[in-house]
């Protein structure tokens, strides 16, 4: 997938003739997603990662910029169901991921039939069973309603539903953040298994750096609607270049335990500015320990440095 200078602003209050305030959720993001990779999109609340995820999934149309899937404009080809099925998503809230009035079987069969409309009831049941097995659930789960399932189970069913249409790309938006810590590992290991088995490309949206270290091939760090650093996980997390990446690592308790580079000079400070009115120049100036006069004036662009890209004037 190729995103080129994608922007999405959400209007606040009344907008007469385009005037008025906007939340700049995604403010000029260009990103490539390679087939078969596990790409992590990491950032804190308000950075735009969820919005970007939905744009990638074809759910939100960007205000400007292009999203290309295998070279073709995604939003123009979504009417074709086969394209629509290629990109699927699972979201954060397990209580909202399944229709409470439908049995697990109904949820899955709807998805299965969306892909293969001609199947007989028996064949649908067979496939549903297969899907449940893949996500680590048993036959008994077919007959349950979401109200009878735990958070982890609901997320697994959501993943099974996404798999039913044989996607190539799976966008996982904070899929374990709302689950108990003890359940997270189980669900994520399932994700790893199915990624291997079905050769999926996974875009993993998270705020947890530890998970990025453990699972991802590449990582893109977002701040206030922009990507500030991007590259292979080994490089970016053991030798971060952008001050915000360094701050993220210095703040994560798991980072120290695990071998990521923690630079105490970049200890957390300050609060993210408002996405409605970002600061002039580099957006990170308000919290950056090494910002200088230039940083207040010029907005840094993503520049290639070796295997990765960084947007910082001081690098």
């Amino acid at each position: 997938m190729k995103l080129v200078d994608v922007k999405k602003y959400f209007p606040l209050g009344f907008r007469i003739f385009g005037a008025g305030k906007y939340v700049r959720a995604v403010d000029g993001v260009s990103l490539d997603v390679y087939s078969g990779e596990f790409l992590a999109l990491v950032g804190e609340s308000g950075c735009g990662k969820s919005t970007l995820g939905r744009i990638m999934a074809g759910l939100i149309k960007p205000d400007s910029g292009h999203v290309l899937y295998r070279g073709v404009d995604l939003f123009k080809s979504l009417r074709d169901r086969s394209v629509r099925h290629k990109i699927q998503a699972v979201f954060q809230n397990p209580d909202s991921s399944l229709n409470p009035r439908m049995m697990v079987f109904d949820t899955l069969s709807e998805a299965i039939l969306a892909k293969k409309p001609g199947l007989s009831r028996r064949e649908v049941a067979e496939e549903a069973l297969g899907l449940l097995k893949v996500v680590g659930l048993s036959e008994d789960h077919l007959f349950k309603y979401p109200g009878e399932l735990s958070g982890g189970e609901k997320q697994r069913v959501a993943i099974a539903r996404a798999l039913a249409v044989e996607p190539e790309v799976l966008i996982a938006d904070e899929i374990v953040s709302a689950l108990d810590v003890s359940v997270r590992a189980h669900v994520l290991n399932t994700l790893i298994d199915i990624m291997e088995k079905f050769r999926l490309t996974v875009v993993f949206i998270t705020h947890d750096i530890g998970l990025v270290w453990a699972l991802a091939d590449r990582v893109a760090v977002m701040y206030l609607g922009k990507i500030v650093e991007e590259g292979p996980v080994e490089e970016v997390l053991s030798n971060p270049l952008h001050p915000y990446t360094k701050m993220l690592l210095a703040s994560s308790p798991s980072a120290k335990l695990v071998g990521m580079r923690v630079d105490e000079r970049f200890k957390a400070r300050g609060e993210p500015p408002s996405p409605i009115d970002p600061p002039k120049g580099c957006r990170f100036v308000t919290r950056c320990p090494i910002a200088d006069k230039q940083c207040h004036i010029v907005e840094p662009k993503l520049e290639r440095i070796g295997e990765r890209k960084v947007a910082c004037l001081k690098v």
């Binding site: 999934a57 759910l59 169901r81 629509r84 099925h85 990109i87 699927q88 998503a89 979201f91 809230n93 909202s96 991921s97 399944l98 229709n99 409470p100 009035r101 049995m103 079987f105 949820t107 709807e110 998805a111 969306a114 009831r121 028996r122 049941a125 067979e126 069973l129 036959e139 077919l142 007959f143 309603y145 979401p146 109200g147 009878e148 959501a158 539903r161 996404a162 249409v165």
Partner: protein, 299 residues
């Protein structure tokens, strides 16, 4: 393949269990059962009324007017000497019929419009909402009067008039509910499957958004009876001597203190019916809500 036959059986079983659970909610609640019984009786009367009534509800005889209840006439006679019991029985089809049909009509159309308004948004929403606001601006009874005057008198126009005047509330209610449901992840997932808008609206959004409308509808049925009676009182409702319960109260009110039975019995009938519908609606809402059922199940 054997396993699969068993699978399909288990599916049927699970669905049956679910329906039974709905029934369980009723069974566990004695008041709800009584309400259900009353509603059933009332509906039965609406259908079979004329065949069950002991006497001719239209047969009047001024010489025996306003006789109080006696073994011969268990509920007494009205101001025109007609048997109140028989009038009540036959009148059920008018009172209940009018209220049920008009509310069902108004609620259905209103809910559908609310669904479209909330789901599609944009121009659809704007247009539907503005038309709705116009309808809402009129007091319900006034609107009903205007519509009856426009369409003409009679039971059918009464039903349509009440339906149209009660519609706006459903548009509002369902739209609000839809706006909440539409952001749930399972609706997004349905869109991701490439399902058509209508499919998503009817299969995923509507069932989860309709609950407040159901409750409102059951309350509304009581209201509809009152509106019908008010119109009848004004001479715009059912033509006399139709034994519509509200009309019976209207014509008997002169004798409220001298022969209270003329007003009392139809009044009781209306009150009991309205209360029963309300209770039924509340219980139905609870029974259909998978979340409250899950709570019950845990005990």
């Amino acid at each position: 393949m054997e396993g699969n036959v068993e699978l399909l059986n288990r599916l049927e079983e699970a669905r049956r269990k679910r329906l039974l659970e709905i029934w369980e909610v009723f069974k566990s609640n004695r008041v709800a059962l009584i309400a259900l019984a009353i509603v059933t009786v009332t509906v039965a009367l609406s259908i079979a009324g004329p065949h069950i009534a002991p006497r001719d509800p239209y047969d009047f005889d001024l010489s025996r007017a306003r006789k109080p209840p006696s073994p011969e006439y268990p509920l007494g006679l009205d101001e025109m000497g007609r048997d109140i019991l028989s009038r009540l029985i036959v009148g059920a089809r008018y009172t209940v019929g009018i209220s049920v049909f008009s509310v069902v009509l108004g609620a259905s159309v209103g809910s559908l419009l609310g669904l479209i308004s909330g789901y599609k948004g944009g121009l659809w929403d704007a247009v539907i909402q503005r038309v709705n606001d116009i309808l809402l601006a009129f007091p319900t009874i006034l609107l009903a009067i205007a519509l009856v005057a426009f369409i003409g008198q009679g039971v059918h126009s009464l039903v349509v008039a009440i339906a149209i005047s009660s519609m706006p509330i459903y548009v509002r209610l369902v739209r609000a509910s839809v706006l909440q449901v539409v952001v749930e992840d399972y609706v997004v997932a349905a869109k991701l499957l490439g399902l058509s808008s209508w499919r998503v609206m009817l299969k995923h959004v509507l069932p989860n958004a309709i609950s407040p409308a159901i409750v409102q509808a059951t309350y509304h049925m009581g209201l509809a009876i009152l509106i019908a009676s008010a119109l009848g009182f004004l001479g715009l409702g059912v033509p006399p001597p139709t034994p519509e319960w509200g009309a019976m109260i209207g014509s008997g009110r002169t004798y409220l203190f001298s022969s209270p039975h003329i007003v009392l019995f139809p009044g009781l009938a209306i009150a009991i019916t309205i209360i029963s519908f309300n209770i039924l609606g509340d219980t139905l809402r609870d029974a259909l809500d998978p979340r409250s059922r899950a709570l019950l199940r845990r005990f």
